[in-house]
């Protein structure tokens, strides 16, 4: 890698601000999916696990490399699938009727329009 430590410090500092800024307007209903989604993103540690596995010398380091790759893969795959399942629950909700964060007034008509006649 051609990066100096100071480059990484710059990247780090900017990423802190970006991280704060980018999610600052999240509505509460998305707190958990967002937590789960960012959980998947730190699964990128798999890249680090691959580096140490490829550089490993001797049985101990190779075993540790294997363990790291295994754990990191659990993190990525599990995180992505769980997030997907959570978000699945939000899809396909009458897109036409959806308003900003549900901040509409009383929706009697919408509710009745949606309901099925009772048997």
């Amino acid at each position: 890698m051609i990066l100096d430590a100071i480059d990484l410090v710059v990247v780090f500092a900017l990423a802190v601000f970006l991280g704060f800024e980018v999610i600052s307007k999240v509505p509460s209903i998305l707190h958990t999916p967002l937590m789960s989604g960012s959980n998947a993103i730190h699964g990128i540690i798999l890249v680090g696990a691959m580096v140490i596995a490829s550089e490993a010398q001797g049985a101990l380091q190779m075993s540790l490399g294997f363990v790291a790759v295994f754990l990191a893969t659990l993190n990525i795959v599990g995180g992505v699938v769980v997030t997907d399942r959570m978000l699945d629950m939000f899809k396909g909700r009458q897109p036409a009727g959806r308003r900003k964060d549900g901040k509409d007034g009383p929706t009697t008509s919408a509710a009745q329009g949606q309901s099925e006649p009772g048997p």
Partner: protein, 466 residues
């Protein structure tokens, strides 16, 4: 490095930049209801790009280790993540976060072992130790948070005298060992540091319980992000620094937003004791001469059928009983009779924020009928029946009226302002927080005991018959 194909270091960094942009866009999209699904996909794209380029540029000699680890990981993760019911989602987030922390710790340790024969410079030593300590805390903390939510151990806070002192000593021990290791690199102290950090993770999680656990998981998620960023410094890897820092920073803010949504301060949560230690006025025994009014399904069904407006207040009991479909069916039957029905959603009802939205959306409840807390609170005074399905703490007036209550200050749904309150509950046991609810003993409250799904099924039949 001589990889399967040659990509210059500049090229690799450029591709990492692409992947970093994907992660920023993913977090951005995940914070808006409209784009949340794209967010996850964009995140996956960033991941695939970064992993693929890393795989291609590295020495292929040990590819079999990586292939085996990834294969086994995928084989374990996919069924686990797919098959666990929605009620178990908070635990899953905890455990998948914990393994990430574990991976970060193992990576820093292995890199240390790798460099030990040739000497470890102080700067790298500090980076390694930070990643190791934070990764270990995240791993053991998440494991215990999982055990609490899965009810392998008690979900309540575990407190003992001098707890904060013990945690403080563990924290000081981590730092002291860290200094020793940086000055004189040795394997013994670094293993000791890992063990102490693991113990500290457990120590931090034990006193946190009840509805605070998801906030704690968010905090541990943020910690794992920081451990990943530290590993980025250890390995001079830009994408680890960017992605880890993004998660660390956004996770910290999210943790604050989550605790704000519950009306609790973060230090308050970490110091713990929620619902554990009897606070003044909180320990009023349920059977203290007060009576409850319990009704049968026919009475309540009739009450519902002849109301103008019903607000359904779902809680964890609905999730446990998987009663969301029956709840939506009841709403439809009532609407068929001309009753106005909506759902009042408390942001932290259930065991994770957004839990109820997810379940009701799964049952095809119209998005427009899901009222957020403030909106619902405007409507309770004009509501005939508030039908509380397995919720307790989030409708407990003590949070509003009783400064001695441990949940005082938490925003609640004011169901007590409705003309009638119907509780579907399994028993008179207090909610997740362990705090008794005076509303259960209010004269305008009717209780229907039993499993939420069975009770709702009976109510559907009763409404149809009414």
């Amino acid at each position: 490095m001589t990889g399967a194909i040659y990509i210059s270091p500049d090229g690799t960094t450029a591709i990492y930049l692409l992947s970093a942009v994907c992660f920023v866009l993913a977090l951005k999209a995940l914070s808006s209801p409209k784009n949340a699904r794209y967010g996850n996909l964009v995140g996956v794209a960033g991941m695939v790009v970064a992993v693929a380029v890393s795989f291609l540029v590295q020495d292929p000699g040990h590819d079999w280790i990586i292939g085996a680890g990834m294969g086994l990981g995928a084989i374990v993760a996919v069924p686990t993540a797919r098959l666990v019911p929605m009620t178990g989602m908070p635990q899953l987030v905890a455990i998948f976060n914990g393994v990430g922390g574990g991976a970060a710790a193992v990576i820093s340790l292995t890199e240390y072992l790798h460099d030990l024969p040739t000497g470890v410079p102080a700067q790298k030593g500090v980076e390694v130790l930070f990643a190791l300590a934070v990764g270990c805390i995240s791993f053991s903390g998440s494991a215990f948070a999982f055990a609490k939510l899965q009810e392998i151990m008690t979900g309540r806070p575990v407190m003992y005298p001098g707890q904060q002192v013990v945690n403080g000593i563990l924290g000081v021990a981590v730092v002291t060992l860290g200094v020793i290791i940086v000055v004189t690199p040795h394997l013994g102290p670094i293993l000791a540091l890992a063990l102490v950090a693991l113990a500290l993770g457990v120590g931090v999680v034990l006193p946190v319980g009840g509805a605070d656990t998801p906030v704690l998981i968010s905090l541990l998620n943020s910690c794992t992000g920081l451990a990943v960023a530290a590993d980025g410094f250890v390995l001079d890897n830009m994408i680890l620094v960017v992605a880890g820092t993004l998660v660390g920073a956004s996770g910290a803010l999210l943790t604050k937003l989550m605790s704000d949504a519950m009306g609790r301060s973060l230090p308050n949560i970490i110091l713990g004791g929620f619902g554990g230690a009897p606070a003044a006025g909180a320990e009023v025994g349920p059977a203290e001469g007060r009576t409850v009014r319990s009704g049968d399904a026919t009475d309540i069904g009739t009450l519902l059928a002849y109301s103008r407006k019903v607000l359904i207040v779902p809680g964890y009991g609905l999730a446990v009983a998987q009663a969301q479909h029956v709840a939506v069916e009841l709403a439809r039957v009532l609407e068929g009779r001309g009753v106005e029905v909506a759902y009042a959603i408390h942001p932290v009802a259930g065991r994770m924020p957004g839990h109820m939205n997810v379940l009701l959306a799964e049952a095809d409840a119209p998005y427009e009928d899901l009222k957020e807390m403030e909106q619902a609170n405007d409507e309770f005074p004009s509501t005939d029946v508030a039908l509380v399905v397995g919720a307790n703490d989030v409708v407990n007036p003590a949070a509003r009226d009783n400064p001695g209550s441990p949940i005082y200050g938490m925003p609640i749904l004011n169901v007590d302002e409705a003309s009638n309150v119907v509780f579907l509950k399994r028993s008179l046991r207090p909610g997740f927080s362990g705090v008794d609810n005076a509303l259960l003993y209010d004269p305008k409250t009717i209780l229907l005991f039993g499993d939420a799904k069975e009770s709702l099924t009976k109510l559907v039949a009763a409404v149809k018959a009414a």
